[in-house]
Amino acid sequence: MLFKYGGYAGKILRVNLSKGIVNSELLREDMAEKYIGGNGFGARILYDEVPAKADPLGAENKIILAVGPAQGTGIPAVNSRTVIITKSPLNNRFLDSYFGGDFGAKLKYAGYDVIIIEGQSSVPVYLMIDEDRVEIRNASDIWGMNTFEAQSKLMESYPDSSTVCIGRAGENQVRIACTISGVQAAGRGGSGAVFGSKNLKAIVVKGSKDVKVPNMNEVQIYIEELLARIKANPATGQALPKYGTAAVITAYNKIGMLGTRNWQDEYYDGAEKITGTTLKNDSFVKDHACFGCPIVCGKVNIARKGEYKGALTLGPEYETLWAFGSNCGNNDLNSIIKADRTCDDYGIDTISAGSTISMAMECFEKGLISTEDTGGLMLNFGDYQSIITLLELIGERKGFGKVLGEGTVRMAETIGKGSEDFAIHVKGLEVPAHSARGVIGMAIGYATSNRGGSHQDGRPSAERAGIVDINQIDGKGYYQVDVQRMTTLGDCLIHCRMTEGILGLTKLTEDHIKIVNLVTGMKVTIKDLIDIADRVYALERAFNIREGETRADDTLPKRFMTEPIVSGPAKGKYVTKETLNKLLDETYEKRGWDQITGYPTKETLDRLGISEIIADIYEDEKEAVL
């Protein structure tokens, strides 16, 4: 039976690993109407199906992979990304993590919008999806392999398929383990550990079904228009195809906002050796694109000299250059390439790994830990050989790597001695490479992100480009709500962040409306999309409230609020408690959240059409229901 709206396959695949059974369910029309797809689907399903206080690494947690209506349609920017949604084992909160490649399109071609994985297998398995033929297969021959080796072996058996896979870090349930699809990562929050906890090594998908849209001619016209705009735009038509994302090292360092030595400073005097220009000149091998993407922002690089000569990787992207570069006081580019490859092999999030290692380096230099704790490793800033060794130990969950792999919060609990002051995280997720002290909109974006320390809910891009005043404080809370509405709806469509400048950098636009309406045949307005985004964000927030989250959790690392930037052009900047509170007030006011608790008010939940969750988070309503 055809689904009411275009773009959707109309089916959910449910896989119970405890029982070893798979079922296909019909996607409900109201799910498409109220949540669009991707992140929206995942937020609703996770909220409904994973109970409060569930162990993220236990059988109660679920893994949801989802796409939106536009995946597989050929529309650039929204053609092939996939989201993984689960309860994070790193911070026990809602997690959505995204990856590029071709998995999303192939999942749609196989006839599914969503995969729900539940339970736990008693033996290592992988999931094979070939349209209506879905099997849970024994993975003993690929268990223990790194991500590339395992995927290569699977591709031999299933040509023309796409894979998502964990490495040894995921198998070992390292809390900062990620999942890898091809050569691209769903990096944040520990989704790899959840795969590992379920003994799920990989998912293979292939298919050849059509994606139906109401009027293919209109979609084709829009595709051509969008391609022309992407090509004409200096960022997507010139900069990203040539350099990828690495130029931001220079961008932030020139204005003194590049995290350095565990954010003790934000100006790195060794940055010249790890810039995008240096990377391109010294290490570039070839370009790499996601399925059907005209931008081609991926850059394959190789270490051409030194002890890591021959290390080949897709990247390092900007975040990784910062994580293992300036933030570890390391400007040996070849070691960063090797670190990136090591993380991809093991399936480790480069951002959390780099943050945890840089915190350990600060603890080492300040005498909180010694070589007795590190297994003999010297951990001074810039000790790049130690970085590589530590990544291997993290992946194997051995030695000091066992402590690091738990993330900064748990590592601080292990080390003690006041080391929590050096844990640079928000809500237990390590902060990425965007200055909260310098980019004030990013500060409030971090504090109110449902994931925690993520730059994918709030965004720094417009302030970094000077389109929005980077120094302005008043109104930045209101501003960042508009940005979060754009990212949330964008994550329901699953559009690539590289096209923000095309589709809308600071708010929802006519392009978002056009994509939804052209593909689905709905007739949504901006107000409809804002309501959908707010509904999804409120559900994520409610998921975290059930875990105990309140306004007090909407905060920043102590360092960002008490230690001014030490040197460089942004010297003296930090975020005061008063500033953060002002911006939280603005955010809550615009969102309709309670100023004291930070909960979405009952009126807001009712207005968003999710009054059924009121009793879950308001005690008085619980009693009324009972």
Partner: protein, 93 residues
């Protein structure tokens, strides 16, 4: 008319990354862009302006370690030995 000397670095944009320009006194940031386009033509213009709409592209300009907001600060006047960076702002990971 007197001249000043200004260096311009492009990061993450074009293959050509360094420019040393002798430009008239009182040249503004906008004037600098015009000089670059005039001297290097399409090779530089495609990095500064959208070739479909002719609107200013999305990039970061740093003048002597100070971020310059465009187009609001197009009329900032350059001085001798100023160093300008024009940088792609596209991050990722």
């Amino acid at each position: 008319m007197g001249q000043i000397n200004v260096s311009v670095r492009l990061e993450g944009l074009s293959d050509k990354t360094k420019f040393i320009l002798d430009i008239p006194i009182d040249t503004t940031i906008k004037g600098l862009f015009d000089q670059l386009v005039s001297k290097y033509g399409e090779e530089i213009r495609v990095h500064l302006y959208d070739s479909q709409t002719n609107e200013l592209g999305t990039f970061m300009v740093v003048l002597n370690s100070r971020m310059v907001r465009l187009p609001d600060e197009f009329d900032v006047v350059l001085k001798d030995n100023d160093k300008a960076y024009i940088i792609s702002p596209m991050g990722g990971g």
